[in-house]
């Protein structure tokens, strides 16, 4: 870096593509490291509907869901007075294994 006669700083000559090349080298190194040392996280297939996070895409009404064994819970959605009822039907087992279907409905 040198100062020119007008007092402004001259910019360093930049070799085109150097940054891209090093980025490529780094990305390749990271990909290799991820392949060798990385560990995949378990896949998640949860479905978002309104403010609910459900095991399956909603397929029944909440009234149908609220029969037999079920879990229903509410959450506020968007505007201040809109609530969703989230429901999962089925026996309580681990995670979604014993859920037969999901449903939700939102109302003010």
């Amino acid at each position: 870096m040198t100062d020119d006669s007008s007092g402004t700083r001259a910019t360093r000559r930049w070799i085109p593509g150097r940054r891209a090349f090093l980025g490529g080298v780094g990305a390749s190194g990271l990909a290799t490291a991820a392949t060798i040392f990385g560990q995949a996280t378990p896949a998640s297939a949860l479905v978002n509907a309104g403010c609910c996070t459900l095991c399956f895409s909603p397929s029944h009404t909440v009234a149908q869901c609220e029969t037999g064994q079920y879990y229903v819970w509410s959450c506020p959605y968007g505007s201040q007075f809109l609530y969703c009822n989230c429901c999962e039907h089925g026996a309580s087992g681990d995670n979604c294994n014993h859920v037969t279907y999901s449903s939700y409905s939102c109302q003010y």
Partner: protein, 200 residues
């Protein structure tokens, strides 16, 4: 011959250093900057909560000290009620543990309402809630039986073991500010009423 071997080794080492620094640079470019997420700071009262309730029992996990040296919820406790089925609750859990989190909130306890124990345990583990006093409430039975609450995310504020107020919220920092202000206001009211009672 030895010089050639050393030369090749040095070359390999230099190349490895270049790759290492290139990887660090690439990694740095992938890390997002400080979060600029703007959350709704609304904190509003939850009408359906049974204010004044004193729980008949405190479940395991919530009975430890609550920051005031009082066990069994006899002091000033704040319970955050989250649910595995509520999308916003995952964000609340993230707020509790990340950037910078709320580990300093001594009176905090977390209730995770869930359809089954396994899903609740997963939620706690995934969001690092094990660092807080917590209870996995299967079916949401305890929190709904004791306080009539079946909504998340909500905050239940206890004073002297009694449910004093309940809120729906989206931003933990805003909730803390609201609770702090509410307690300061109540303290001032108590002091005012005491001063009025004292003979002049």
């Amino acid at each position: 011959m030895v010089l050639v071997v050393f030369g090749v080794a040095l070359l390999v080492l230099a190349a490895a250093m270049v790759v290492l620094f290139a990887m660090m640079g690439e990694l740095a470019s992938r890390v997002p900057g400080p979060s600029t997420t703007r959350r709704d700071a609304t904190v509003r009262a939850l009408d359906e909560a049974q204010l004044g309730s004193v729980p008949s029992s405190w479940p395991p996990g919530l009975e430890a000290g609550n920051g005031n040296g009082n066990g069994n919820g006899n002091g000033s406790t704040v319970l955050l009620v989250l649910s595995t089925i509520c999308a916003t609750c995952a964000d609340i859990a993230t707020q509790l543990t990340e950037n910078p989190g709320h580990a300093d909130w001594g009176e905090l306890g977390v209730v995770v309402s869930t359809s089954n124990q396994g899903r609740g345990n997963d939620f706690v583990a995934r969001h690092g809630l094990g660092a807080f006093r917590h209870f996995v409430d299967t079916g949401g039975d305890w929190v709904s039986d004791q306080f009539g609450v079946r909504v998340s995310p909500t905050a239940l504020v206890f004073t002297a073991g009694r449910l004093e107020s309940a809120y729906v919220f989206y931003d933990v920092a805003a909730l803390r500010a609201k609770i702090k202000k509410e307690r300061e206001d109540r303290q001032m009211q108590r002091e005012d009423s005491q001063m009025q009672k004292e003979p002049t």
